[in-house]
Symmetry: C2
Subunit: 409 residues, 2 copies
Amino acid sequence: MLNISTRGRQMPASPIRKLVPYAEAAKKKGLKVYHLNIGQPDIETPPAILDAVRQADIKTLEYSHSAGNESYRRKLVQYYKSVGIDVRHDQILITTGGSEAIMFGFFTCLNPGDEVIIPEPFYANYNGFACAVGVNVVPITSNIETGFALPPIADFEKVITSKTKAIIICSPNNPTGYLYSREEMEALKLICIQHNLYLFSDEAYREFCYDGEYVSAMHLDGLDQHVVLMDTISKRYSACGARLGAFVTKNKEVYDAAMKFAQARLSPPGLAQIMGEAAVDLPASYFDAPKAEYLRRRNLLVQRLNAMPGVFCPNPGGAFYAIARLPIDDSDTFCQWLLEDFSYNNATVMLAPATGFYGTAGLGKNEVRLAYVLNLDALNAAMDCLEKALELYPGKVPGKKLTVADTAK
Amino acid sequence: MLNISTRGRQMPASPIRKLVPYAEAAKKKGLKVYHLNIGQPDIETPPAILDAVRQADIKTLEYSHSAGNESYRRKLVQYYKSVGIDVRHDQILITTGGSEAIMFGFFTCLNPGDEVIIPEPFYANYNGFACAVGVNVVPITSNIETGFALPPIADFEKVITSKTKAIIICSPNNPTGYLYSREEMEALKLICIQHNLYLFSDEAYREFCYDGEYVSAMHLDGLDQHVVLMDTISKRYSACGARLGAFVTKNKEVYDAAMKFAQARLSPPGLAQIMGEAAVDLPASYFDAPKAEYLRRRNLLVQRLNAMPGVFCPNPGGAFYAIARLPIDDSDTFCQWLLEDFSYNNATVMLAPATGFYGTAGLGKNEVRLAYVLNLDALNAAMDCLEKALELYPGKVPGKKLTVADTAK
């Protein structure tokens, strides 16, 4: 009999996308579905970068250099300089989305059976890529009570073994919105140096920091050989569909090895590279409007959530996600129920159960992730739905109430 | 000490791209370099499909469905019908180039340590992807004397073990240009059924068949559960830089597992999908001109090569590659010498040493791959260079002369 592979069986389905059939059914019933389940912003892609593609004089759309067009990589050197990162164009490898940058990191730095530590809750697809390449994810838990701050160093040291090769961080964080402080980044640096670990730093949301300073892994002195920056233009310029990212490292051996994986897949997308190159020429003020808009949304979302009985949502310092604790029995059941059995004003809301963002089984059962990627009116209407749903949901349980002030501890 | 991964060390450098620094140096010296080393056609990308992107009304370039836009997949159903392949849109998964389709095939069907049989010489990147995912390539040798026909069934049976999970074929073939006959395809079918193997069929060049009928793996009755079609628009529409391909299978379990890998990387490139969708509306006559042009080039190339003393080139039935046997000691040395130490009329020619296309060490040392992706004038000039080079090359050895007629045996 023909069998699929073990990794094909073990590969987790996307927790963000697995409820899609229920959403489609809800829409077929005529319901409006507010999508807070996925980080697909409604912000316009800057017209100038789409125009750059429209106006490009292309006769034959050829393979680019496997590392991406040199002209684009040289432009990115300018961009990184503007965010305090000093790299050369031959330390940048253009990838197909941030996804491929993560994949190249795993391929290049980890053997099958090696371990990577990730503070949980974490971006669920890290798990998927790890499964694909045979790497084991070792989660260490950050808690909603502390607003998902970096777990204590002792928690890292407890799980470090001879198999541990890397730590993955994402700041500002998806799914929590937490923004690591300089002190937390310095603590990570010490762990990496002491235990000889790579630091994979996913900085997809660096432009969206609201209550604190953005600290890149590449801002840390003395960590050059350890850091692999995983980047993307998806969120920065609201261009998720472009599939354009970057793998950046000053470790030449890592770069050269990643380049061999890049050569095997020939080149990153060509039209998207035109967009990416044009984006670097956007005025610095470009980010003001989307950032202000996300901040308004965050403030509304957090205020509305914490005003609901039994609900607690720490105030996220960046990105456009928040995790809220709800007075419910099971977030998977609840999110499905929202789509299957609930409506309010002929609408419902789609959320991501937080269970999919934890590596530790059983965690996140009373938490959901909300992406504030809709405008204020839609967000208010979505919160009206959620508020009503929490009144009606049959699996309601008494919530432990925390206040935002508690998270400052 | 920080170490890169074992697969990062073992990953082969691209044999097609590894001579690039020598070509760059030659150009800096002022030489014209005729690039016959890489399958990057000079044919124009159809302006209509680039116009489709230019005219698309995009406000936010969003993630597409992880399997690709449904509208594009439904269009592809029409396209496949036009080439005699009957599939549904939910059996098509849009990928980032054919490369990702190959990767998904490995991830989904093979475990680390499993074996895949590939007739050699083969597309070198199969090796790269296999290395990345821990799969072992088992080559079986096809010979220039038979024009690279499918090796006898007995050769397959000799190497099939309990670890063997799949056969990869590419017809018309890169790098040989060989086009498998219906009899050869039927023979492959029997092996796959008898030994429970997947058949990965790379059909990137199906539009370019000159001397025979195109037979898809999907034309074979009773093999539906075994076949994974790996496809791309790169060569079909001379759109290599778009990075758009497809993974097509009627095996639902394989499709569903591949879909999980597709979800992890979110979606294929968005702008390229607009191109791909528009391409299906090109008139059927679109292929007449490029096909006729490639045929003229093939005829010129094969004629010129076989007219050179000691050179033998079988007549390839499809694609736009040929492998020639040259009277040389070492094709790697020769190809580098062409770029470093030779010029004729202020020009030289870049070829791909065939060694990189063989899995068996030592094979291909007196063979090179030529991609006939340049116009007739350039091709003639490149052949002038090669002819002269073979007179001057210090590592010249007496060649065993075969004629094209011999390959009919």
